[in-house]
Each structure stands twice: as structure tokens, then as C-alpha cells.
Point group: C2
Chain length 616, copies 2
């Protein structure tokens, strides 16, 4: 395409953005208009993408980090022949593929759900890592960012990660239109301010003084493509609402359709129907053909003492040997999470993300998008740092494994800052998630294998201290199952536990049995989904459930148990033991006791229930 044609294409993208928002009565046309030239030059001259084969391994990846500029993206898809003009008019309506912010669930060319700012570049880093270190295909990753989102720390985690990994297959395009949602950004049109920051993190920087100059943009793209050894950022000075005088560079118009759209379209030269022929990538071979050998899980002797985090590390290493698509990432605590075991055996598939949990999960998301099966690990407490990334991953339909170690007060002396006490609540509320919490090494190993085969976000909660192995190596632990560890015809109460509290529950049951009180004990290792059948049967037999968990009482095991009884049938009587205080430092045993979730507390709770029938 000649320069004039590319400029015309950019005008078309503006016009179509205005038309879409006008039809919908909402949307972000002005944020689309500022980046129209960046997008036109990319599609016309630099992107390599086969729209008929979105699964083509050689396709470049494009991520719209400023997801609210979705009209621009859809307009570009139309220009590339992937969408019809009719479909553009369905923008933001019920059932349309063209959502307010793009999601992969609906459109095959969208790989990453965006709309929460500061996430597109971090995920793009993960994709670029996959391309460079694992797939070794020559695709480039292009990420279009807004300037406002450069205030997010996650952007600088991504910048650090990409700079350190020398990701020269990654280009960030920043639409510096100087206006955020409610007004000017911190740095306005000061391109130098952003360039200094990116350069400090090891990026090659290119400033484009006029982000609406096709030739200047084209030279910048060429320079980015020819830069070796470091990622490149193109900082383009643009005007929000560019091309329509009533909107151009004006405050107060964010997220609003352009007024008088017909006049605006007229001002932009009217409706066009240009087609852009996006260059198709060369044939590419997937080099990371998935080995799928026999999985030899570690086996443990009943009675041995092994921490579940250690069993996790051993099982993950075995899984990595069996499956070539399994990769691991850790937030600089691999010696604690035991991810370092995988690193030693499979260094080429291990990604050290340092203490940057948002980037940890974002990189895992990018690797998942590229077909890998990532396990990302940190302390359970610190995965809260990545909550918004986990949320967005679930919106994007991402499948990945997150593993949080050092669950609960049972970690002991380190104190509350290191204790995962809210992680079950976080992960249960994630749409379509699987939440697993093993109590022994054998179970952990099996659950690692199970979780790798689920879809969506799967979470495994591991413990710091050693626990006795109680299951034999041939037991099975399906997702959605549970284990009844004690039962008799005289059970007066059912104790539901998971993880460390399983062992406390067993001790309590044994002690109570000597006093003639029989309790059923259920190991609810699958916290989501829960084993409704077993819980309901226990409720029918014993009439009463006592849940005990090393977690806050809100959103954890106690609430999960309720999932079995919210269909309108009469629920059993319920008592919950959970961590209701703010712990300090103490030994693990002291912590469990102080929180009222140890064997003694369980036994006392059962006695109250049995002796008083109803505790008021």
C-alpha cells in the first residue's frame, strides 16, 4: 500500500470506530482514533498474520493492551476481511462477538482478554518468551498500549522481564495521546519521560514526534523489526479524537460516542471500504511437539513424613518429564515452593520471574495462550498480588495451574504476612476454577497430574511443614471427589477437613473414639468442585457437619461445603472452625491451637455438638 492509501485506511478505521460507537450508543471512539495510524501502518506493512488460519504457528501476535479501543481493533479486522460491515454494527449488543473489550472466547484472532489496563504488555512478554525460548518460530509480538496504563507497576514488571530476557521479538506501541479517562496523564506529550523509563529497563526506544505521520511510523516499525538483542518501544505522539475538530485533543470525551457522528464522518472524508491485504507468514513448523510419555509419579510410603510442597515439586518434575508442554514459572521463591526441583531437571522450560507476581501470572498466561501448560508458583499469600491477572485470565478462558505454598497459620514463626489465609476465597470466586488442597504427599502427586488435565484456572494449595503420608500409592483422587477417612454406623458428627486439618481431625476422631464418640472424617481435598454426594450422605447420616480449615472463615472450606446444600433441600446443622484471629509468631502447633483448628479444638467442638445437640 502507498502512503496515501495507508492514510486512507487510517481514516477508515476512524470512521468505522465512530460508526460502531454511534450505533451502540457507547464505546471509546476517541481512544481508537488516536491510534488509527499506528494500526493502519501495522496492518498494511508489518504484521504477518493469516486471518484464515488464526492457528498458524508463524502468525505474529497482536495484543490490544488498551482494550477499550476495541472499535479500532474490530475496524481493522473488517479492513482485513475478517469481519463484515454488518457485524461491526452489532458492537456491544447482546450475543455479539464484538464486546466492549475484546475477548478470545468470541473472536479467533483475539488471544488475550484485555480491558483491565496494564495487562496486555505483561502477557505479551509471556508470548514473546514462548516464541523465543520454546517455539523458536520467527513471529513477532506487537502490543498496543495506552499512555495512561504506563502508570501501572505491572507495565514495569513486564518492561524489566522483557529487557532482561532480551526479547527482540517484542514491540510495544504506545499511543501517547496525553489524555486519560478523567483528564491529562502525568506526563502529557512528554515522550522523553516515557523513553527514559523504558531505556532504563533495557529497551530500545523510538520516539515518533507525529504519530499520525505514516512514513515516520513506518520507519519506526522498520527500526523495531531490525533491532536485535532488546525489545523496542515505539512512543507515538498522537491526538485523542484525531481528525474531528470537535473531539481532537479535548478532555471529557473519554468513553463517549462522538457527537454528530455524521458530520464527524464527513469531516474524515466519509465512509470507505478499503481492504488491507495483511501479509501471510511463511510456513512454520511447531518444534515443541508435545512429548507424551508415561507419567511416573513419585511414590511415598504410608507413614513417611513429607511436606506437600515437596511432593508437588517432585510430581511437577515427573510431569515435566512425561509431557513436553509443561513449563514452570516461579517468583524467586523456588526453593520454598519446590519449583526449583523442576528447574534442575528441565531448565529450558523453567522461567524465573523474580519477585513480581503480576508478571509471573501474566507470563504464565502468555505461555498458555501459546499452547503450553504452565505451572506458576509462589507463596499462597503473595498470589493475591496477581488477583486481577487471574481474574482477567479467567475472562480470557486461559487454562493454567497456579500453586500457592505456605498455606495458613501452620507455617509457624514467620507470622501473618507470609500466611495464605484468603487464597481459597480468592480462587473459589474465579469463574470456572478448580481448587485443590491436598493433605499428604501421595495425594499431592496425584492431584498435580489431575490438575494438569483440567481446563480453566486450577489452584493447588500446598503446606510448608511435613505431614504424614496416609494414602497408598494406588489411591485415586479425582477432581470433585473426597475421601471418607473414618466412618461407622454410629457417627454422631461429620468433621470436614482439608490439608493440615485432616491430620488434626483424625487425631480428634481417634481421641473421641476412646471416649465412645464416633465421628465421620472427610478429607475434602477438592474444595471446588465439592463432592456433593459424599457430603450429603454424611449430612443425612450424622445430621451435623463441623468444618475445620486453616483459612479465614469467609470464602473457604466452610463456605465450599455449603455448595452441596443450596438447592433448597434442608441443610444439616453446621459449625465452622476457621482462623478468626490475627496470628503472630509461634510454632506451627501453637498456631493451630491458638487459631482453634487443632485436634483439641475439633474434639471440643464435637463434644459440644454431641452433648448439647444444638449449640446456641
Amino acid at each position: 500500500m502507498h502512503t496515501e492509501q495507508v492514510a486512507e485506511l487510517a481514516q477508515q478505521l476512524r470512521v468505522d470506530s465512530i460508526r460502531m460507537a454511534a450505533a451502540a450508543g457507547s464505546g471509546h471512539p476517541t481512544s481508537s482514533m488516536s491510534a488509527a495510524d499506528l494500526m493502519a501502518v501495522l496492518f498494511a506493512r508489518h504484521l504477518r498474520y493469516d486471518f484464515e488460519r488464526p492457528e498458524h504457528p508463524g502468525n505474529d501476535r497482536f495484543v490490544l493492551s488498551k482494550g477499550h479501543a476495541s472499535p479500532l481493533l474490530y475496524a481493522a479486522y473488517k479492513a482485513a476481511g475478517a469481519l463484515t460491515d454488518d457485524e461491526l454494527r452489532t458492537f456491544r449488543t447482546l450475543g455479539s462477538r464484538l464486546e466492549g473489550h475484546p475477548t478470545p472466547r468470541r473472536l479467533p484472532w483475539v488471544e488475550v482478554a484485555t480491558g483491565s489496563l496494564g495487562q496486555g504488555l505483561p502477557v505479551g512478554v509471556g508470548m514473546a518468551l514462548a516464541g523465543k525460548r520454546l517455539e523458536r518460530i520467527g513471529y513477532r509480538v506487537w502490543v498496543l498500549c495506552g499512555d495512561s496504563e504506563l502508570a501501572e507497576g505491572s507495565l514495569w514488571e513486564a518492561a524489566e522481564h522483557a529487557g532482561h530476557e532480551n526479547l527482540d521479538n517484542l514491540t510495544a506501541l504506545v499511543d501517547v495521546n496525553r489524555l486519560g479517562q478523567r483528564g491529562p496523564t502525568r506526563h502529557g506529550h512528554d515522550l522523553d519521560a516515557y523513553a527514559r523509563r523504558f531505556a532504563a529497563f533495557g529497551w530500545h526506544t523510538i520516539e515518533v514526534a507525529d504519530g499520525h505521520d505514516i512514513d515516520e511510523l513506518d520507519r519506526a516499525y522498520q527500526e523495531a523489526r531490525s533491532t536485535a538483542g532488546q525489545p523496542t518501544v515505539i512512543l507515538a505522539r498522537t491526538l485523542k479524537g484525531k481528525g474531528v475538530a470537535a473531539a481532537e485533543d479535548r478532555e471529557g470525551l473519554h468513553g463517549k460516542p462522538v457527537k454528530n457522528p455524521e458530520a464527524a464522518i464527513e469531516e474524515l472524508g466519509g465512509v470507505r471500504d478499503l481492504h488491507v491485504q495483511v501479509q501471510v507468514p511463511p510456513a512454520a513448523r511447531v518444534l515443541h511437539a508435545v512429548r507424551s510419555g508415561h507419567l511416573e509419579l513419585p511414590r511415598y510410603e504410608v507413614g513417611d513424613s513429607v511436606a506437600t510442597r515437596t511432593a508437588f515439586g517432585q510430581a511437577l518434575t515427573a510431569l515435566g518429564t512425561a509431557r513436553g508442554d509443561v513449563v514452570a514459572l516461579d517468583g524467586e521463591v523456588g526453593d520454598s515452593t519446590r519449583a526449583e526441583m523442576f528447574a534442575k531437571e528441565h531448565p529450558e522450560r523453567y522461567f524465573e520471574c523474580y519477585i513480581a507476581e503480576q508478571q509471573l501470572v501474566a507470563a504464565a498466561t502468555g505461555l498458555s495462550v501459546r499452547g503450553f501448560n504452565p505451572f506458576a508458583t509462589s507463596f499462597a499469600a503473595f498470589l493475591t498480588r496477581a488477583h486481577d491477572f487471574i481474574r482477567m485470565a479467567s475472562i480470557g478462558g486461559v487454562s493454567m495451574n497456579l500453586v500457592g505454598s505456605h498455606a495458613g497459620v501452620a507455617i509457624g514463626q514467620d507470622g501473618p504476612s507470609q500466611m495464605g489465609l484468603e487464597d481459597l476465597a480468592l480462587f473459589r470466586a474465579v469463574h470456572g476454577s478448580t481448587v485443590l488442597y491436598p493433605c499428604d504427599a501421595q495425594q499431592t502427586a496425584h492431584l498435580v497430574a489431575e490438575m494438569a488435565q483440567q481446563t480453566g484456572i486450577r489452584y493447588l494449595r500446598t503446606s510448608r511443614g511435613d505431614t504424614p503420608v496416609i494414602y497408598g500409592p494406588d489411591e485415586t483422587f479425582p477432581v470433585g471427589g473426597s475421601k471418607v477417612l473414618r466412618s461407622s454406623d454410629e457417627d454422631a458428627v461429620t468433621v470436614v477437613a482439608a490439608g493440615v486439618t485432616v491430620h488434626e481431625a483424625l487425631a480428634a476422631a481417634d481421641e473421641l473414639a476412646t471416649a465412645g464418640i464416633r465421628v465421620r472424617v472427610i478429607d475434602l481435598y477438592s474444595v471446588k468442585p465439592v463432592d456433593r454426594r459424599t457430603l450429603r450422605e454424611a449430612a443425612e447420616r450424622t445430621g451435623c457437619l463441623l468444618t475445620v480449615e486453616d483459612h479465614r472463615e469467609e470464602g473457604g472450606l466452610g463456605d465450599a461445603v455449603l455448595d452441596a446444600f443450596t438447592d433448597g433441600s434442608p441443610p444439616p446443622r453446621l459449625v465452622r472452625l476457621a482462623v478468626r484471629t490475627m496470628p503472630g509468631s509461634a510454632t506451627p502447633a501453637e498456631q493451630l491451637h491458638a487459631a482453634g483448628i487443632d485436634a483439641e479444638s475439633i474434639a471440643a467442638g464435637v463434644r459440644l455438638l454431641v452433648e448439647h445437640a444444638v449449640v446456641q
Copy 2:
């Protein structure tokens, strides 16, 4: 103190760190030893602090961002005469004030809970803002950071915030000991790498080539104190485990007591009992004396249509007029959250934090620590970004208000990335939190006044769209209360709703009444704590509860209702309506319908319960 004495003091801090960890059998002495000289010079020559009056307004603030170096902090407190040597030996034991990571709950000189890395500097920025913009007292904020935590994006949000606000009363001390937990950091001893980054964000940078040279450190501190117009970072090249050959600069010793502590102490010159006289600050007057005028809340006419976010903005503005300690912070969406109303009326107490939700909550934490009553606002969905900061604030006993707008699918066209659907789960699981979710403007205004008087983390969930005002201006809405909006002696079912679903529940009740089915409707505006009495009475009368919420089914209103029935008494039959699908774009009404939480869905649910008595 002479240089030699300061050097001796540093050795004492090392020795005491080793002794504490040895006694406890755990802890982080090597991370303490690298920063001992930084700490000794600070305490001996630059810190102004009255240990007998931690409430002195003129005291400098010291924040240990690398919270695991707590032995160093406690050793310094001992040297300053605030702790006894006996108490040092209680380190990390049950009941001790000397926890593994410092918390303000226990020690009067600790103002910020740390231990999750990358949080001390962000909170320090909030304290420095308070000092510079509000209190106008000449105190300095000193933050001791590790080099590992510079990988956290939150550090760069803080750097950006401090640089932009020209916080020359803030000094970051970075203990560049080159070793993280599991091995070397990305940049090792490359001080330039860090200096480039801080300089790019507008900081004055000082590199100290030998972070164990007392005089060099002293000059750096002097330079920091005399630097005007920008914050300063002192980057000190140090050795982890400094002074003990077996530990110095060695990997694999993070978080472990030093082996052979007696020999190590001998190597460091033995146990000392030096006292450091920390300089006391000059008398200071608190200039922000809290006005406590009459609160004139906005009033609304019953039947008017007003968004709860708008009522929030109006009530907050009124609260700010009545109370001089109320401050507001927003993440660059003040036009949406309506925090901009406060900004217009009280610009001197408004803090624009741009799109950096971690820094938003951290700054609010810092302002709270300094005695202000902050309201921090963003979309409910984006507050997930700050989850770990909220968690740590609760550990620190911080009182602050967080307000999340754009709750639920009811926002409509923007789609799932903008919908707060997990926020109730997040905030309910926060220890000691208060969670409020109003359904109309009048209620919102009252709850804003109520929440400002609570302790701990208080969360208010507001809605985007207009809702009818259903309460008169003289109604009261105590925390922990609820409103029974429909009731009769023939109620067959109780519908429990909050926020937008209250209006759907009322519509359903009215429609069902025409069919002869009476339902009780409860507005459970206080999601935590819940109104147990009213819920139990309703359960007794109607036998059955149907909860309906614009939130995921896990951790929200449905689970909250259960809190009233987990004491062992028989719970009522329960059915939960919640958002179980992944929404796309659609109108608000279409969204509520698609999610099965609109009036029609509620009526259908009630009919099933009534007609089938038990739904299986």
C-alpha cells in the same frame, strides 16, 4: 558518635541479629547483617525520633520495607534503649512483641506492617505525602528496601508517585546485597542499573560503592537530607552476611540462622552493649486539627433515580466538609467513581493516584497511619489489583475506606473486564473488615457516614446505573443491620438481596403478590457483619431463604447469609441466585436477565420453592 563508634554499633546490630535468630531457630540474620551499617548511621546521626513519645508529630518515620530483616530493626530498638536484651530473646516466640516480620499491633514504633515485599516504599510515599501536603511538619520518611523487591511493579508505582509529587522528605535506602531468597538478583551489584531506573522516575540517586563504609554512608545521608525538590534513593553496595566469613556473600543462607553462632559472634568482636542516643525532633504542632463540624448529608426524594456512586460522591464531599481528617484518593477514574466531586470541593485533600491501584491503596494506608481518614476509590474490579496491599493493611491494623464502583453485571455494555464480580469475596475474607452494599442513594449517604466511624478495612460497593430512592432521609442504617422491605404473616419464602437486586426482589415480590404468593424481602446492605437476628427470624417464619446477588456465587451475599446459621442450629432451606456465567456485552437489564438475577428469575425461583416445597 564517632565513626568508630558507629562501626561498633553496626557490629552490635549484627551480633544481636545473630543472637536473636539463634535463639529462635529461625529468622533472617544475613539479610540484617548487610544493612547493619545503613541502620547504624541512620540511628546514630540522621534519624530524629523520640522513642519515649512515638506519637510525637515531629518524629521521622522509619519503614522496614524488607520486613524479614526484623532482627536488625529490633536490635536497633534495643540499642536505642526501647527494648531490653531479654526481650530480644523472645524473638519469634508465642506472645512476643518481636514477630518474624514487624507489625504495628505490637510495637509502638512500628507504623507499617511489612513482610510482603514491595510494600514499604509505596506506603512510605503516602506518609511523605501526608507530611508534605497536609501536616506540613518537617519530618522525613526513611524506607529501608531490599534489592530483590525492586522487581515488584508496586515499587515503580511508588517511584513514579514520589517523583511526580517532588517528595524531598522521602529517602529510600536500598540494601543492594545482590542475593535474593533463592539466589542472585537480576542485577547483582550493578548499582547503575538501579540508579538509571530511579533517575528515570525523577529521583535523585546516590550510589555508595561500599555500603559498609560509615563515612561514605554518612555523606550519602547528608546529601539526601539536603536535596530539595525530589526524593532521594541511596543505593548501597553491601554483602549479605557481612562480617562472618562463613556467611558473607554466600548463596543458600537466606532466612536461616547463622551456623556456629558463637564463633560468628566472636568473629564480629563479641557481644556489645552500646547505646545510641537517637536525636529527638523539635517540638511540632499538628496543623491539621480535625474540624468536626455538623455533617449535612445529602438528602434525596423517595422515587428519584440516582446512582449510588453519585450519592457516594455527594456524601463524601459533605463528610469532607464536616471532618478535616477525611481525605480522598482515586485511580484516575474519579469521574466514574464520583470522587471528583470531593476533588472539586476539597482539592487540598484529594490525591490523584493515576492508574496504579496498588499505590492508591498504599498511599491511603500511609495517610491512615498519619491519622487521616482516607477514602480510596476505583472500579470494584480493579481493586483486586491491590489485594495484597489490602491484606497487609489489615495485618497492620490500618483503618481506611475502600470504595468500588461499577459492581456486577449491571454495568451493562462494557463487559466482564469492568465488572466487579469477586469483590465481596475479596473483602469479606479480610480480617476485621466491614462490607457494605447500598441499594439507593439515601442509604449510600448514610453508610458513607457510618463507615467513616468504623475501625479496620471498610468496603463500600457502589453501582453504575441509576436506581430509585426507596428510603426516606431519616431512616438509619447501622453497620450490621438490614431492612425488611416486605413482610406479612403469610410469607412463604424470604428473598435476601442487596444493591441492584433489592429492586429486582421488590418487583418480584409485587408480581408474586398478585398471584397470591407472599414473600419477605430483606435488604442486606451490611454484608459483613450480617444481621443475624433478622435473618434467623425470617428463616424461622418462612423456613426458606433465596439469596440473589450481582456477584459470583462463591464468597458473596449467599455465603454471608450462612454466617447467621453456622452455630449448630438447624439452618433454613437455601437457594442462591448469583452470576454463574461469563457475561459479554449487553444492556444492564439484559445482563441481569442473562445472569438469572432479575425479577423474573427471582419470581421463578420462589415459585419453584413454593410449589415443590423442596427442590432437588
